[in-house]
């Protein structure tokens, strides 16, 4: 029971990161391997705001999310849009975007190493005990989970209850047909990429409240987010949510029951299972 609750609390934050990535890949068709760097950058900014100006991380989101949105929008327009325009087919765009975002990954990682050093960083925020179902959990984890739920709910309302959200989902399903019904696909793609980056940054801010991080850790999170995205089905927000919770529970269980050094093995076991039996994702439909 304790494992499941801890797993769900962790999975909530993973979900935000993975939803960010699934928007970027599902709608903008960019496999953003530098996603984890956005997350770590958000961790450092939150840390800096908290230690220098005593800004509560939860309020920090209000600053960090818009910045991440703007930065990711600029990255898309300046670096990735040219690749989209030059690609002759989906395969070419995939290879190009993978290589370009690898470049960004190493560039950002190197810049963060320069600015913050390679040391592990953490800070104490709401490091108190919180009782839930007769067991104790870190209050910061519970708060982070709550905040993640609020953000996810807001995103859900945007995607499923507004015209613009519907347009974004339409592009995820089929960019060609979306264009036919008068949706500005290029604009929707840029918006989704920026929105995905902002969500990932929110996830980063929340994770920094209870997790020890360093400048070169982004890749680990990118890896987890990628696997969640594939488990949930590319571009599927609900699938990503469920998959993130499964991954959170599986990781906590393996770390607690077998060995903390084997969390990635747990992730991979899940990944292989999905690839072999449901490559289209949990809720995905078989491609025709």
């Amino acid at each position: 029971m304790e494992t499941i609750v801890t797993g769900i609390l962790l999975g909530g934050t993973y979900a935000l990161i993975a939803i960010g990535l699934t928007l970027q890949y599902g709608v903008s068709r960019i496999m953003n391997l530098a996603n984890g760097e956005t997350l770590i950058a958000a961790c450092f900014v939150t840390f800096w705001l908290f230690t220098s100006y005593a800004v509560n991380p939860i309020w920090g989101i209000l600053v960090i999310a818009p910045i991440a949105f703007a930065v990711n929008w600029a990255i898309y327009m300046l670096l990735l849009k040219p690749l989209v325009d030059r690609a002759r087919n989906q395969g070419m765009l995939e290879v190009d975007s993978i290589l370009a975002t690898f470049g960004l990954l190493f560039l950002f990682q190197g810049l963060m190493l320069r600015s913050f050093g390679g040391a592990y960083t953490s800070y104490a925020f709401l490091a108190e005990r919180f009782e839930l179902f007769g067991a104790y959990y870190g209050l910061n984890r519970v708060v982070a989970f709550g905040a993640a739920c609020v953000i996810a709910l807001a995103l859900y309302l945007f995607l499923y209850w507004t015209r613009y959200g519907t347009a974004v989902r339409a592009v995820a399903v089929n960019p060609g047909s979306a264009r036919l019904v008068g949706i500005d696909v290029a604009k929707a793609a840029a918006l989704s990429f920026a929105l995905g980056g902002a969500l990932t940054a929110c996830g980063g801010t929340l994770i920094s409240t209870f997790y020890t991080f360093n400048a070169s850790m982004g890749v680990v999170f990118t890896m987890k987010a990628l696997i969640i995205v594939i488990m949930g089905g590319v571009g599927d927000v609900r699938g990503a949510l469920i998959a993130a919770l499964i991954l959170g529970i599986a990781e906590t269980a393996v770390a607690g029951l077998i060995d903390p050094g084997l969390t990635l093995a747990a992730t991979y076991a899940l990944f292989t299972f999905v690839l072999l039996f449901r490559p289209q994702g949990i809720f995905g439909r078989q491609q025709a």
Partner: protein, 323 residues
Amino acid sequence: MTRLSSGEVLTGILGAATLGVLALLPLADQGYYLSLAINMVLFAALCTAWTLFSGPTHYVSLATAAFYGLGTYTVGLGLDYLPFPVLVVMGGVVAAILAGLVGAATLRISGVYFVIFTFGLAELVRQIVSYTQVKLSSRMGLYVFTDFTERDIYWMLLGLTAVVFITGWLINRSRLGFAMQIIGNDETVAKHSGIDTAKLKIILFMISGAFIGIAGAIIAPRYSYVEPPGAFSPMISFLVVIMALLGGTRKLWGPLVGVIPFTIVMDIVSVRFPNDTSIVMGLAFLVIVYLLPDGITGRLEQFWAYLKKPRAAPEAAPVEERA
């Protein structure tokens, strides 16, 4: 098998002559230049082996570090019990088995899954190796003591590179190579002409992985102490991708053109600016994507074609432009 053309014979003779000259290098210098040359030959072998698979399929494989580390580890584990040449072969076999498993899980479906799977593969293998090692022997590293000098390692790697080249050339001449060309150009066409695309890709991935494993095994005596974080360092995978793509993957010798300058660059950077290696690698990736999409050799070929083309004739309607 067709008969050799005169051009191929010439290339073969030139290649053998270059190999002979390169083999003399340790006689001239045993210090810094030999050590730099070992790095170059190592990456030449790794990048050419990588290109065997990733060149025709366009799948960016990041599994290099996993195969390489397995090769190194096989030598480290077995050195007390088995002779070195046997271990080198075993390193190749173990890597090929892993390649087969990864290929079977991912190469039947789209390429993105393959990239993602190999992205964390080295880290996964590292975790499993560390875990089993701690469970079984309660220590982390392995000592690799042999009588090999840097010079022996250099010669062995040079020999391996030659074998990789010959294998690549033989594959290109075989039915497998022909099939891979079709798959690379259009997978749907390949499937419709009765090619078992998944099976061929897995076979090629295993060959490529085996060579990378062998390279890892040969280099093991150089480290004398092998630890999981070092042996499975993900940097190797990324460096191989950068060097191979920088050179260009269309020709068998393409990666070499990237290996030589980039090994020197990385050598300078790691000495003078040890904290900025990631920045240099990041910039290298961006340069490849935006300025050299087909690598240096691709650009050279374009330039060559431009020179050869008669100036007067205006370009015929470009067919590929339509998308």
